[in-house]
Amino acid sequence: MNATNQISYLEAICAAQRKALVDDPRVYIYGQDVGAFGGAFKATKNLAQEFPGRVIDAPISEDAIIGSAVGAAIEGMRPIIEMQFADFSTVGLNQIINNAATLFWRTNISCPITIRLPSGGTSGSGPFHSQNMESLYAHYPGLIVMTPATVEDAYSMLLEAVAIDDPVIFCEHKYLYYHLKADKLPTEAMPVGKARIARAGRDLTIVAYSAMVHEALAVAEELATEGTEIEVVDLRSVKPLDTDTVIASVARTGKLLVVGETFPWGGVTAEVIARVATEAFDLLDVPPQRLNAKDTPVPYHPNLWAAHRPTARSIMSAVRNLLRQ
């Protein structure tokens, strides 16, 4: 809790882990620096002290960290794994996609593990501490991929991730860690797999998730002063992807912009557009558009970084272009 008694997105993640540890003796936390130090971002602050033996420092071995979580899950545990940065999860990619994600299908034994990925950029973080991995993991069968955009969702969806009997890739956005605050933690939550209408509108639909929801909301706010009503759909989880809510929104607006923070080739934005185009082409008044990061590694300098990912400014430009058609 901070001085104003509000709770941040990061504190919500810590609180959800605390509740999971309290509620379920099968839960433990394993990752680099998560123990007494409390994690590189303090997402496990004080938890090692509060739950002796259940919040464990791991060697710098992403493959072994995730592989061991698969084994523990087979034996009935519910590990929460912290990858120090989402970018480093590629070192554990093999265990995620070939062991965790195939286990249920191959053996009929579920694999309840939660892999927390501190995702996304802050300026100055450069190519290897800034990535968004949701499109990569959503590609593989056998994984759930969550992308919470609010403090409430960060809390309730992380609890849900631990409760789900399948491997969950939990993409928590580092930019939101400190910037996003709420008055209190939620006691109720929308079910996982359902998208949320973050703002209702009639003129154009922006589909977004994670930090991009807030960039989209800023655009909607500004355009509202001009009398244009933008509907913002927060996907909440990209897999499963709530196609129905997206199509229902497009039915209302006839115009679609999909915004994602990760690289442009394929991925979540392309998937949303493919689904709308194949299932609801007739509802579209103009060709749907997508906006992603640039097709380069994430840059270091703030000037470059700010232009690499979609922002309210670039979203505004894309929206105005669509509205003109």
């Binding site: 061991s68 698969v70 062991n99 797999g193 689904r275 299932e279």
Partner: protein, 343 residues
């Protein structure tokens, strides 16, 4: 359920000759079942590859008989003998090769990729070294749950070159887990000789670097394997942490049955490491008069009959029906996606 485990038969009081004989029987069963897999492959009855453990039975069976029910075993591709000794029924292997819907993998995975995780037998993925941390995690879970048991897994010398091997063995060492890691140095990883795989004098020297106990053994000598591997399992059980065992032997077959292994240096076949462990063990049984040719022949007949009966049964079993298949990769049915791209 797994069959009665061989180790259950091995009470603390049985003589070394009884243990030797019992382990030899698993080796013989494995060799005969492997021969059957090979002949079914040559007859076009098996889809995909066939991978045999010929020449590695002494190492593998010695591990299998040293483990107990409730332990964990993650075999690799040449561990049929260890699987059988640990309790895998022969029908599991046949059903998995045939892709029977009744098999443990239900036609979704094949050949050596089979297991019963809830009974401690893990189905390997193809990525070498990847099963080490999975065993580690199971052992960590046991520690949380205050349950007993050791975990074992096997690798070839090629697998020691992977990052997963390093991460996994180091993790086990840091956590002081009761892990037994057997490396069968069979001289070739597919076609690549050991000289292109590692540069140290002996792989067992790696144990020092990881801070674990290391052991070397002649993988063609059943008596030595039982002593060394059995001892390492006991060490792990007694809280001495991970045990690395390097067994020297020669792969007496191709990488798979599609491979004629013409690249194997002929000199190795006459080297002591090129001995056939099954023949060596049989000769030893006869020399020591722990058994006789008639008895061994009767075992052979008994096993062949059992294999043939099982083959006949499994060949009549239906494969999976793609139209009845659920095509569902997650267990949470309410989170399965339905959209036009897949349906």
């Amino acid at each position: 359920m797994l069959q009665t485990l061989a180790s259950d038969e091995l009470s603390a009081n049985v003589s070394s000759s009884d243990q030797y004989k019992a382990t030899f029987r698993w080796m013989l069963l494995a060799r005969l079942l492997d021969d059957k897999f090979a002949s079914l492959y040559r007859g076009g009855k098996i889809t995909g590859g066939v991978f045999l453990g010929r020449g590695q039975e002494a190492v593998s069976a010695s591990l299998g008989v040293s483990l107990r029910k409730g332990d964990i075993f993650a075999p690799l591709i040449r561990d049929l003998a260890g699987r059988l000794a640990f309790g895998e029924p022969i029908v599991d292997g046949l059903r998995t090769y045939f892709g029977s819907a009744l098999g443990p993998m239900r036609g979704r995975d094949g050949n050596v990729h089979r297991g019963r995780p809830k009974e401690g037998l893990l189905p390997m993925i193809s990525h070498l070294g990847a099963m080490i941390p999975v065993v580690n995690g199971m052992l960590m879970a046991r520690r949380f749950q205050k349950r007993e048991g050791v975990g074992a897994t096997c690798l070839g010398e090629g697998g020691t070159s992977t990052g997963a091997f390093h991460e996994g063995l180091n993790q086990a060492a840091v956590e002081k887990l009761p892990l037994i890691l057997i490396v069968a140095n069979n001289q070739y990883a597919y076609s690549t000789p050991s000289s292109r795989q590692f540069a140290c004098d002996s792989l067992v020297d790696k144990a020092i670097g990881y801070g674990v106990e290391g052991h070397s053994v002649d993988g063609t000598d059943l008596g030595a394997c039982l002593k060394t591997i059995g001892g390492a399992v006991t060490n792990a059980r007694n809280g001495r942490g991970p045990q690395l065992i390097i067994a020297k032997l020669l792969r007496l077959c191709g990488h798979g049955e599609h491979d004629d292994s013409s690249y194997i240096d002929p000199k190795l076949r006459t080297d002591p490491c090129g001995r056939d462990c099954l023949k060596v063990a049989e000769d030893h049984l006869l020399e020591q008069r722990w058994s006789d040719a008639v008895t061994i022949e009767s075992w052979r007949k008994e096993f062949q009959l059992s294999i043939e009966e099982t083959v006949a049964k499994v060949q009549r079993e239906a494969g999976p029906d793609p139209f009845q298949e659920e095509w569902q990769a997650i267990s949470s049915s309410h989170l399965v996606e339905v959209h036009s791209g897949i349906n």
